[in-house]
């Protein structure tokens, strides 16, 4: 982080205030060196970024949820073998290799966290938001989930059970929220519109503004 030629303007022992500008230079240098060595293809980096900006995101997971709400056979499959059921919709691969779907019920609300790093089901939700990877959420989700939920504007009934899933192994969890009331006539596309990313992490409920 101590690039003395280019960053004379800050205290080198306390670089965090400037870490964004530091990081821009540092990561550019990293890419330059690795490219000069022929170890990386900048085009591959572009392709990776484009994939996660445009192709893989929470819309995938919302499709899974809407199908589970609409099709009891699919919901059963999802309970028994989420990796295969989700794979049947074309959502496979990196950080979704071993999927589990956990269903909210009138009695139990599910919440997913990775206290040790940032494990997250990329294949169905895309890249995780900053808060999911940051210490506040990772530290509190397992001890004070109701307090965390309140910060997302979610208040659960007092007696409702909360189950927190700490993603400590390679299983990746997708929360299937409860289907909102009054949605009986809706098709899968319209149902998917009711499912936010946060509802599939467990920090929101379906149908709420997200």
């Amino acid at each position: 982080m101590h690039d003395h030629d280019h960053h004379q303007d800050h205290d080198h022992d306390h670089h965090h205030d400037n870490r964004y500008s530091d990081m821009q230079a540092r990561v550019r240098a990293l890419e330059t060196v690795l490219s000069e060595k022929g170890l990386i293809d900048p085009g591959a980096i572009d392709a990776i970024v484009e994939t996660y900006e445009t192709k893989i995101g929470p819309r995938n997971g919302a499709h899974v949820v809407a199908k589970a709400w609409s099709d009891p056979d699919f919901a059963d499959w999802l309970k028994r073998d989420a990796t295969a059921a989700i794979g049947s919709l074309g959502y496979t691969g990196r950080q979704g290799e071993h999927m589990r779907a956990v269903f909210n019920t009138p009695d139990t609300h599910n919440l997913v966290v990775c206290t040790l790093c940032s494990c997250y089901p990329w294949s169905v939700l895309g890249l995780p938001p900053v808060w999911y990877k940051a210490p506040a959420y990772r530290s509190r989700a397992v001890i004070d989930p109701r307090g965390v939920l309140a910060e997302f504007g979610v208040t659960l009934p007092e007696g409702k059970r909360i189950r927190v899933w700490d993603s400590t192994a390679e299983l990746r969890y997708l929360v299937i929220p409860e289907r909102p009331e009054g949605t009986e006539g809706l098709g899968e596309e319209e149902l998917a519109d009711l499912v936010s990313r946060d509802a599939m992490i467990g920090t929101a409920v379906a149908g709420a503004a997200s």
Partner: protein
């Protein structure tokens, strides 16, 4: 290791502060850091477990102050140097100075869709039958290794119930240190909040971890 990453139950980090309509990236360098990290992972020189351990080894004050892509980039530099691909000195000046080690593969743009769609499954067959079954009461071991582990501190020496046998998977505690994949059965183990947090715990809360078999003892 009891590193800065092991955050469950720590306090003082303030509110979660979700960002409305958050973009996937907050700066151009984050995009490059993601792509470079995945590209270098394709070298086949280290495992995901070794890369996680490199992140855990960032000094605590730095780890807690860093954004997640900064954590990735810092750990990547360590891995690149350890495995002979690029030195810190080279990254300091942004110029190649040495010939690198030879990677098993180099990720090219046309390989990206296939590589991302395949991912890196880490389930592996084991010959032994699972020792535990759903409903068994188990106690997690109490250990404090300086090496990599996926048993969080808050869940050590705690009694819970096996909810599911989840299959057999690469054992990260070994694999992070080049000791082989040594797969084990993995179980979802559920704890009452009172067992973990004691007085004042939320009576409606249960917490589960996914635990490798050697983390567990029968009660």
């Amino acid at each position: 290791m009891n590193g800065p990453h092991d955050l469950g139950g720590q306090m003082g980090f303030g509110p979660v502060a979700p960002e409305k309509d958050e973009p996937y990236f907050h700066a151009e360098w984050e995009k490059r850091a993601l792509g470079i990290t995945l590209s270098c992972g394709a070298f086949g020189a280290w495992t995901i477990d070794e890369s996680r351990h490199a992140r855990e080894n960032i000094p605590p004050a730095d780890y807690l102050a860093a954004s997640y892509y900064e954590i990735w980039a810092r750990a990547l530099e360590v891995l690149l140097e350890r495995h002979g691909f690029a030195t810190r000195a080279e990254v300091d000046v942004g110029v190649k100075q040495n010939e690198p080690a030879v990677p098993k593969r180099i990720l090219k743009a046309d390989m990206v869709p296939g590589v991302l769609a395949r991912g890196g499954p880490c389930d592996r067959p084991v010959e032994a039958q699972p020792v535990f079954k759903p409903g068994d009461r188990v106690r997690t071991r109490n250990f404090n290794p300086e090496t990599h582990t996926r048993l969080p501190r808050y869940a050590r020496a705690k009694t819970g119930v096996v909810e599911a046998v989840q299959g057999s998977y690469v054992f990260p505690d070994d694999n992070a240190h080049g000791k082989g994949e040594n797969p084990q059965w993995v179980y979802t183990v559920v704890f009452d909040a009172g067992e973990i947090w004691g007085e004042g715990a939320d009576p409606t809360l249960t917490v589960s971890i996914d635990a490798w078999e050697s983390y567990l003892e029968r009660v």
